[in-house]
Symmetry: C2
Subunit: 493 residues, 2 copies
């Protein structure tokens, strides 16, 4: 048997086990009783160690070298092989002991975080987070040596292949420069508040309108489901996309837009190239691209006045409401309201980058060892004051608000804002090449938009690097200009 | 490092992966969207193959032999080692290819069965079931050669270590002889029907009273949960017990007793010896004992007039009902109503053994190759007519009703009736040694009963063979006498 098909067989098993890990993680977040945390940590560690063993099997480098010398590989197969090489190089840098220790530390820390966040008690989770951070720094160091990068770059590379801190700084610079002024002008304009949307909004009704809009967007319920979790996310497996939201009976607007956001992620997963579903090249390997898809659906499409004008009567009806507060105009004002706040996931698209910037700066300092964990709450609060002029009243609305560091995702935050920039760029390119997209959205028809995304983004899997894909789909490299122009147009036109 | 601790480390990983498989199975039954079946089959096959690889690693037999020669093992460790030897001998008999093929066939067949049952269409699932049967026969043959038993005995042994067909025949003989006469006398006595309990009973209310009674029984919700599935079962992982039920808005009684039945299984799982949770000896390896625990809770404890007298007002209140139909006496008449019917899981304890006998006879013939699968529906219907005088109107209420053959459980059915016999014997022994048990149940206090079970059954794990455990806990070997006496007393006294 040739080397390439042998690798495909091995990586299929690996990809399937990755799905198993992901299902266990979904269950942990959406279903698992609290007392089962220790057992789940064992299960996830066992699966991760087996994945690591498969990926670092001593034959793999020779097989990859042999496959690279084989004739007749198509472009997908070559890209698949390149992705195999990348994954195996990263994995070989980290030994099994560290893999297992990190898996356990993350599972335990994530479960403690739930309680710490509920009780606004950073100290309760600090030792757990310290373990995760220490082990992550070890991992980053080991991968950095193998890839010849800095430790922080090694972490970023795990979420967005090839991306580096210097490139992020370059891409963020126009935001750092322009957003504060833009924010000032927008706040000046939005002095009067929209009419309030008074609750309560029963969870069942919120869930129902969420499901209705998911269907409208083209979510395939035969291959996925919607549930609840403390921190909304999209996970699951190939052909089985699990998204979650959380409900607040006093405010339907957040949860509903959260569902649409996650549906953007889910459409990406459901649109990956079917023939390559069990190979590395068939998966979505870039978090920046993933976030671009959720933000494209949420921010570009669903917060547009075209869509909200269409959706307002459906939403009003689902809660049995009517009147001026439920008019499209007032709903649009709610969904484009800009207000510096404490919580990233509730932030509008104008202030969101400041939340990311704070986390980007802090995680770099934590990974570099320049910021002791005990000083994190204070540093967080000072950063919020400096960047947005607001100060958390406790750590639940401060450094405990996000799951990411606690579940081991370091170097991930920048992809939120890079994703927002990419979303704007994709949406503009899509609208220019398919003039039917925006009129479609105005009628609740997402077909033309999703078709464009399927062709240019989802269906590409990991065949290209994120920057290659953006360039190919939009005709230019990623930058902040389209995003800033979008903000100007939406909030100041 | 000595051999025994090396084995413990290997079997811990194996046990944890078994939990992963079990979680995937729970999800498949209770949560997974239908279109995800193919992917789930891949996942479960991958995990099963890895388990098989771990269990058949070439070093294992030598490690076991070395550990058996090591000094200073305690009785739990020795029992653990014996169980390791048993599991590894069974696994080594079956090659990896067959393990994987069977895992895939079972996952696919189980998902097709859901649709076949819904549509009462045996032909839709027949090819899938044929694959499962063919592969199971191969597996049985391979294990039979290793254990020097018949193929059917090899299958039984997988559910109840050491149990053989000849022993089952001997234990079933008094039932075959006495139950038909007993049934005739009971039906004579129960000529008048109880007052009807009129629905509808909303699912939410049914769920709530189910949860309330689970709590009363001592189910630990920090380590488990209750959901819905087409076929009720108890699964999950160590420290994370997932039970399921199904609801019928026209009839709360079945679902509620179903929840109590599964809670019996769940209490067993939650009472396993904590220190041995990740070793073979710490798990419940006998299906007969497992069923004895569910039937002890359901049939012996919760259908007793003592418990139903206590529970009737709670149940009536939870549905907002009152009046003669909701009196304890009428509820007792419902819950001790004997009526030959088509559906095993709805059967009373007098006619239940006939359902098991039918399946026992049919699966022996199918495994022996004496009954072609296409003749199964006919053979089933003739058997029902002969044993219980009723004939299914379609295969959904005939040979499609149970999940077991479709999900690969062959040689499992006898344990239901052996479990019923063991339940009666345990309950009698418990009541004799702890006189507080029945008065406790009459006040809704299951503490004394569960404490006895923890000590004599749950906490024993797999330290003893099922027959040793029954003998030790009840002072005599398993037989049908106590069970028959229980039926006489409850239905004819």
């Amino acid at each position: 048997m040739k080397a390439y098909p042998q690798l495909e067989a091995r990586f299929k098993r690996l990809t399937v086990l990755g799905d198993v890990d992901s299902m266990l993680h979904w269950d942990m977040s959406a279903m698992m009783p609290l007392g089962a945390a220790a057992g789940r940590a064992e299960q996830m560690a066992a699966v991760k160690v087996l994945c690591h063993q498969l990926l670092t099997a001593p034959e793999i480098p020779d097989l990859i070298a042999a496959a690279e010398a084989e004739q007749g590989l198509g472009s997908w197969q070559s890209a698949n092989l390149a992705e195999m090489r990348r994954q195996s190089a990263r994995a070989r840098a980290v030994d099994e002991e560290l893999t297992e220790a990190l898996a356990r530390a993350v599972s335990n820390c994530e479960m403690r975080w739930r309680q710490a966040k509920r009780d606004a008690d950073f100290e309760f989770v600090r030792p757990g987070l310290q373990s995760v951070l220490d082990l992550t720094r070890q991992e980053a160091q080991a991968i950095a040596e193998a890839l010849d990068t800095s430790p922080y770059d090694a972490l970023i590379d795990g979420f967005d292949a090839g991306l580096r801190e210097s490139e992020i700084d370059r891409l963020f610079a126009p935001l750092v420069e322009n957003l504060p002024k833009l924010l000032g002008r927008i706040l000046e304009r939005q002095k009067s508040a929209p009419l309030p949307l008074d609750g309560p909004f029963p969870v069942a009704a919120q869930r129902e309108i969420g499901l209705k809009l998911m269907a409208l967007l083209g979510f395939d319920f035969a291959h996925g489901r919607l549930d609840q979790s403390l921190h909304p996310f999209t996970g699951g497996a190939f052909g089985d996309v699990r998204l979650t939201t959380r409900y607040d009976e006093g405010n339907f607007a957040k949860s509903l837009m959260g569902v649409l956001h996650e549906t953007g992620h889910a459409l990406y997963e459901q649109g990956l190239p079917e023939d390559w579903g069990y190979q590395p090249v068939g998966r979505a390997h870039s978090m920046m691209l993933h976030e671009s898809q959720s933000l494209l659906i949420e921010m570009q499409a669903c917060r547009s006045k075209e869509f909200l004008t269409f959706a307002a009567p459906m939403i009003a009806q689902s809660f049995g409401r009517s009147g001026a507060a439920w008019s499209p105009d007032n709903l649009i004002r709610h969904y484009t309201r800009v207000q510096p706040g404490l919580i990233r996931v509730d932030a509008d698209e104008v202030t969101y980058p400041a939340h990311v910037l704070l986390r980007y700066r802090l995680e770099k300092a934590l990974i570099a060892g320049d910021l002791p964990l005990r000083d994190l709450p204070h540093a967080w609060n000072r950063g919020m004051e400096e960047l947005l002029g607001v100060i958390p009243g406790n750590d639940a609305e401060g450094c405990l608000q996000d799951i990411h560091w606690f579940d081991g995702a370091w170097g991930y935050f920048p992809s939120y804002t890079l994703g927002a920039m990419a979303a704007a760029q994709f949406f503009q390119a899509a609208g220019e090449s398919e003039p039917g997209i925006l009129p479609g959205i105005a009628k609740g028809d997402f077909g033309p938009l999703v078709a464009w995304l399927r062709r240019h983004v989802h269906g590409q899997g990991s065949r290209l690097t994120p920057s290659e894909l953006i360039h190919q789909a939009t005709g230019k490299p990623l930058d902040a200009a389209v995003y800033l122009a979008h903000l100007e147009r939406r909030y100041l036109a």
